[in-house]
């Protein structure tokens, strides 16, 4: 029990530290006129493809998919934590401390998830009406926790990836960006996963975003509650799976790094 409280205490400080980082990166002005302009443009860019195709159905599919993808993107940005820790010179201290590095890594980037989920939701609710997307009230409220679930699920996945690439001095940016675009391609963001061959459809269902996004589409389209619940459960299972994998492997990756000195010095 005391171990749990200890971890919660570490997580609290990690979240606070992350929040301070966040406020150092963005002011309200740069967030609104920088980041949010990008978010709204990203959702618009994909929604416009639907206009090019002269299809309202496609427009709304692309709009919802890419707004939710913004929420998930933040989870993947959490991968940058490893680079940030190394750049700040805190990685070796963190690894040497008696607390579990995975707790710090998992908690410190939560601010990115919160930011991304808020951004994705704003993208959906600001750009949606411009493209004639109607939100069924009050069901649409369910989109808020569902987008949060998608963001957290992506974050669990990225915490696992953070352990894998922890020892690499360079290349995190490459992994982050490639992972984000790969997820955009595979997780039903731009085309339904039923468009894929069966093996790829299966693979997509094991990735974060896919099932949660389906639940969000079901919510907006007025699907039965049981269908939504099934997809929510699937997303929860996927998130739990990736988090368990992260918890099981992170210590091992850190241990390797400690033994061969690759955490600070190797590439």
């Amino acid at each position: 029990m005391s171990r749990l409280f200890e971890n919660l205490r570490v997580a609290r400080f990690a979240v606070l530290s992350g929040a301070y980082d966040y406020f150092a990166i963005y002011s309200l002005r740069s967030w609104v006129f920088g980041w949010m302009v990008r978010v709204l443009s990203q959702v618009t860019f994909f929604a416009l493809i639907g206009k090019l195709l002269k299809s309202d159905e496609q427009t709304q599919f692309l709009l919802i998919g890419n707004a939710v993808m913004i929420g998930a993107m933040g989870g993947i940005f959490g991968l940058n934590m490893t680079t940030a820790e190394r750049a700040n010179g805190t990685l070796s201290l963190l690894v040497a401390s008696p607390s579990r590095p995975v707790v710090v890594f998992a908690a410190r980037g939560l601010y990115v998830v919160a930011d991304a989920v808020l951004s994705g939701l704003l993208g959906l609710f600001i750009i949606g009406p411009i493209f004639d997307l109607h939100f069924p009230w009050p069901r649409v409220l369910l989109v808020v926790p569902l987008t949060t679930l998608v963001g957290l699920s992506a974050y669990c996945f990225s915490t696992f990836l953070a352990g894998v690439i922890l020892r690499k001095r360079e290349g995190q940016g490459l992994v982050v960006n490639t992972t984000i675009v790969a997820l955009m391609a595979l997780c039903g963001v731009n085309v339904p996963v039923s468009f894929f061959p069966t093996w790829l459809e299966w693979l997509a269902s094991l990735l974060p975003i896919t099932n949660g996004l389906e639940a969000i589409r079901d919510t907006v389209n007025g699907a039965p509650a049981a269908t939504i619940a099934w997809n929510v459960l699937a997303e929860l299972a996927v998130a739990t799976g990736w988090l368990s994998l992260a918890l099981a492997t992170f210590g091992r990756f850190v241990g390797h790094g400690r033994r061969d000195g690759s955490l600070e010095y190797a590439s």
């Binding site: 618009t44 416009l48 195709l53 290349g171 490639t178 675009v181 085309v191 468009f195």
Partner: protein, 255 residues
């Protein structure tokens, strides 16, 4: 010229050493897959050319925003800027060499995008107007380098350069009509698009993939060139002013 070539060589060495510089060459094929899937799923294989052109602009713009745009700041951080500025060769030529080398690399994404369309989707991208295509690519690369010179200069001046880099991708993809033509944007936004060289360039490149004749070719190509030249001039003036300022107040190596 030697400073220019030396800058180009150094930049290519940087890119080889830092895998993050290769990001657009990993994402361009994936973007091609995404756009191709959207068009195939909608039963619009006629838009294959659109899907093959847009990832190239995404790659080129990314290189300008995240590589070329940071060349001067990187020199400041690595402590090499004093040596470069004090050297008898031209600092501006060195910077330009680095930016042009980075921009030229973007051409690789053409091959990647078209290969993905061919190999994964069995779709051929046919260029119907080769000379116009080549001329547009050359002028586009020059305009992109010109725009990158402005970014490299501006990023030294502003504390929000990282925020700008992270934010200035999709707004310009929309305004530049790199995938969806500007004609589909609201009418109030089109005048803004017309001063973004990407909009002229993307439109012209898509025209080269269609069999019909290309209207107002000289004007459209000229607009890409003029807007790019404006970038070069503005960037050169900014760079000269910044160097004068930071030398004067002793902030050359300080951010």
């Amino acid at each position: 010229m030697r400073a220019f070539l030396a800058g180009a060589r150094v930049q290519l060495s940087f890119i080889r050493a830092y895998p993050d510089a290769l990001i657009p060459f990993f994402t361009a094929p994936l973007f091609t897959v995404i756009f191709m899937m959207i068009f195939r799923h909608s039963g619009r294989p006629d838009l294959t050319g659109y899907a093959a052109i847009a990832p190239v602009f995404i790659a080129l713009w990314w290189l300008a925003l995240f590589q070329s745009g940071w060349v001067i700041q990187t020199d400041r951080w690595s402590g090499t800027i004093e040596l470069l500025v004090a050297a008898p060769s031209s600092f501006a030529a060195n910077v330009l060499g680095r930016i042009v080398a980075t921009t030229m690399l973007g051409v690789v994404s053409f091959g990647e995008a078209w290969l993905v369309a061919r190999v994964i989707f069995g779709a051929a991208v046919t260029v119907h107007h080769w000379w116009t295509f080549l001329a547009t690519v050359v002028v586009t690369l020059a305009a992109m380098a010109g725009t990158a010179v402005v970014m490299a200069s501006l990023f030294v001046l502003t504390r929000s350069a990282a925020t700008f880099s992270n934010s200035a991708s999709y707004p310009f993809y929309v305004l530049g009509g790199i995938l969806v033509p500007v004609s589909l944007l609201p009418s109030w936004l089109r005048p803004v698009s017309s001063i973004v060289f990407l909009s002229w360039s993307a439109d012209l490149l898509r025209s080269t993939l269609r069999p019909g004749s290309i209207h107002h070719l000289a004007f459209r190509l000229g607009m890409v060139g003029v807007l790019g030249a404006c970038g070069f001039v503005a960037g050169a003036l900014l760079l000269s002013w910044i160097l004068h300022r930071v030398r004067g107040n002793g902030e050359l190596a300080h951010t």
